[in-house]
Amino acid sequence: MRKNVINLLARQLWQDAFRSKVMLIASILILFLLIFSAYSGWENYHDQNLTRDEIQDEVQDSWENNPDKHPHRMAHYGSFALRLKHVLSVFDLGMENFVGNAVFLEAHKQNTVNFSEASMSTGLLRFGEVSLAMLLKVIVPLLLFYLGFATIAQERENGTLKLLIGQGVSRKEIVFGKWLGLWGLSLIFLVAIFLVLLFFVFLESHNSMYFDSLFRYLVLLISYLLFFGVLSAITILVSAFSITAKSALIKLLGIWLLFVIIVPKSLQAMGFYLYPTPSKIEMETAVEHDLMQLGDSHNPDDPHFKALQDSVLLSNNVKDVADLPFNYGGFVMSKGEALSAAVYLKHQTKLYNVYEKQNNLERYSAFVNPYSAIKNLSMAFSGTDFQSFLHFKDKAEAYRFNLAQEMNRLQMELIPNKGKAGPDKISNDYWKQFPPFEYHFLSISDVFKNELISLIALLLWSILAVFGLLRLSTNLKAI
């Protein structure tokens, strides 16, 4: 392969593209969409995080400024966890608007994360959202097909392909020249969007997760580079194996519709159909049922808590719970909290396993549909996938559990038993000592672990693309 010939062919493809009206219209459209989605993405990220940060601080202030009181009152007073957006959510909105944003953390109860944007939106949300990633995932591929469908098929129809080969240009040079040209064309959009994104990442450089963000950014950039390489190869291959340019276009449009619009949605729907999930009320019933079996702290005759009481009395060598060296109420509640949290988590894990099965149908389709691979990778590294949400939810639940148990501990140690002398309040210094809720995003190594399938699929696709082009180089038909 001669480098200068390949360069020449690639450059020629660029010239043709820039002469066409499609490129002009597309560039204007993409520019408009880029400005719009960068602006609206940043505005959304910035405003939402500002509001949530403010409320999180406010909540912490009111927690610390509570007067002296019984610790269990504070356990019920509770706190809130507000979900912060990752700076890269400016790039890919992912599930951002479909998951909840705030959760009330109180003793005895795992509340749902509420107020998702979707729950406050109209049916329009289902048409999708415009984001920088959406442009790269959905619009640019279509554009690439528009710009590339004619590359080889048209030259063959015109007879120029025969001429080229006759002039001593090898088939390999033609194939790779055209491929690099088309890939290069897609990089114009990629570079434009990623430059804008880099600016946003820099804007948040004060963030403690700055290097993590940069790393995520890099992975996204490489993933999209590969994705466009694969798409360009598909375009060249379809164009080469079609008799006319027209039929190449129809095939490519079909591929786009099928793989970007119809298949991902159908597979997600099939997952829902194949693996039904319980509703909240069903799960709550199951949790309550399990708890009754294990031990119901509300039931005075419950065998589990009766046995617990007996063993505590025995080990402390007293006859009445009031004589115990610690507050018995606090003790029972701490045991009850541990028990109910464990049971709830068990059922929740089961539910999430079903979700995973539902999602896996689409996830594994990445091996036949490169769009699925980039879709999942893009969300995950932008911190807007389901796992990122679960990570937040787990942290919030851990904080809730600690808060409840810390208040139970304070009650056990500082509040006297019923009928004994002593204060029924403790100093509000204890509230100030309890650390505020601080959220750190999923570590990048975890993201890699979560997205292993998508990464492997994208790499395989890249290899397959090169392999396909090499095959084409040997049997490209000139006429």
Partner: protein, 446 residues
């Protein structure tokens, strides 16, 4: 003439492909709707059992203290499911079908969501509405984009032109044949859906039917207009797909981003905090601080003594009431803003047929935001009636037998819908007629 055109159309590859695609995906979507209805039924059954069991269980432990008993008991209001919602699932997978609430502050319970896989919420449901809005236009495009150009490119146009009296009429007839085929498939799918999903053939169903037919007419007119420009096949395919992308993906998404960003709702989070503080801070205040405001709303309880140094249920439920009371204004603002989002979306949708059809499908199927807000309003009323029904007995320390808890079953809420036919039909009809006129003008030059 028509029978010949039908025959030649039935022989094309695109006919078979379209038929198979629409029927398979259409039937799958109907069964997905069925699954969705079954899930709703199961949820409702579970809620009914839950309520009964939890009343019985709590009666066992806490029957001596009505105030405490009602602290635990949850009462369910269910939005009566309509089978037609399976055609256009809309927002009903995001917004819960039912809410089980205690008589404590409602604001903290009202917005609890049900469990649903966010990936599914994001990708949206594959319901019949989706098939009609997204796939039918694609099939129409695929069948009509080369109506004229194909004959031209194959060289058959000259022969035809010599043999037919009116070339425009000939093209129009070809279009009519394709439209009737798609119309037939639509008719079949809608009636199949009505049979499988047991949807009554009422006004709402009629609305969806008319809207679907108009929508198909709109796309036929659009394709025909493209044909009337007499460009080559590749151009037509490219242009029509681009129009499809703009109408079904880009424009709605742009509007959605705009609406979400312009009308942000921080009030939702504010109300949540206000409710908690409104209730909890009363624990640290003089009891009068609670009772004065409570008695303002409920003067009939003024003669109850509330001792300063002793816990009493009237004070406790007074505090709970204050939680809702203090969040009331912010909560109302939040609802107003959601309504505003809805109004703005609907107004813009009048100019974009895809959006208009989606939103009106949701309205007709009672799966839109307005319908959910109606449910939330009913829930507030339901909660108020519950509380007020129990207040006397709790404050009088009556026994739990006296309130007849066994009669409290899960209740259903039925929404009422007024269809504005003109608003439903007119926008899309106007667009269709307008585009049809443009195409006819173009074809006169043929």
């Amino acid at each position: 003439m028509y029978s010949l055109l039908f025959k030649s159309f039935f022989r094309t590859k695109i006919f078979m492909v379209s038929l198979i695609l629409l029927l398979t995906v259409g039937i799958i979507s109907i069964f997905i709707g069925k699954q969705y209805l079954i899930k709703q039924e199961k949820t409702i059954a579970a809620a009914q059992v839950f309520q009964e069991e939890s009343i019985n269980k709590n009666l066992e432990y806490h029957s001596e203290d009505l105030g405490l008993l009602l602290y635990y008991l949850r009462f369910t209001l269910i939005k009566k499911p309509e089978n037609i919602s399976a055609i256009s699932i809309g927002q009903s997978d995001i917004n819960p079908l039912l809410q089980s609430v205690t008589i404590r502050a409602l604001e903290a319970q009202k917005y609890d969501n049900d469990f649903e896989n966010p990936s599914l919420l994001m990708s949206g449901n594959l319901d019949l509405g989706f098939v009609i809005i997204y796939l039918f236009p694609l099939v129409l495009i695929a069948m009509t984009f080369n109506l004229y150009s194909e004959e031209k490119e194959l060289g058959t146009w000259r022969i035809l032109a010599a043999q037919t009296s009116s070339k425009a009429q000939f093209l129009f007839k070809k279009l009519v044949v394709r439209f009737f085929f798609v119309f037939g498939v639509l008719l079949f799918l809608l009636f199949f859906a009505s049979a499988i999903l047991q949807i009554p053939l009422n006004q709402n169903f009629g609305g969806i039917f008319i809207q679907s037919v108009l929508y198909l007419l709109f796309w036929s007119a659009l394709s025909f207009w493209m044909v009337s420009l007499q460009k080559n096949s590749s151009f037509n395919a490219l242009a029509l797909i681009s129009i499809w992308v703009v109408l079904t993906i880009l424009l709605p998404a742009l509007v959605n981003n705009y609406v979400i960003n312009t009308y942000q709702i921080p009030e939702a989070l504010d109300a949540m905090v206000e409710q908690r503080d409104g209730y909890h801070e009363k624990w640290d205040l003089e009891k009068d601080a609670t009772m004065t405001d409570f008695f303002k709303t409920y003067p009939q309880y003024k003669n109850y003594e509330v001792a300063e140094d002793q816990f009493s249920w009237i004070w406790y439920y007074g505090m709970q009431f204050m939680g809702d009371f203090e969040a009331k204004d912010t909560s109302a603002e939040m609802t107003e803003k959601i309504m505003l989002r809805n109004t703005v979306s609907e107004k813009i949708a009048l100019f974009v047929p895809t959006m208009h059809v989606q939103l009106s499908f949701n309205t007709l199927a009672s799966t839109d935001m307005v319908s959910h807000l109606g449910f939330l309003k009913a829930l507030t009323e339901f909660h108020k009636n519950l509380r007020e029904g129990f207040y006397n007995s709790i404050f009088d320390n009556k026994s739990s037998d006296s309130v007849g808890l066994e009669n409290y079953e899960a209740k259903f809420y039925e929404s009422e819908l007024h269809i504005d036919w003109l608003r439903l039909i007119l926008p899309i009809l106007l667009f269709t007629v307008l585009i049809a006129i443009f195409s006819l003008v173009n074809l006169r030059k043929l």
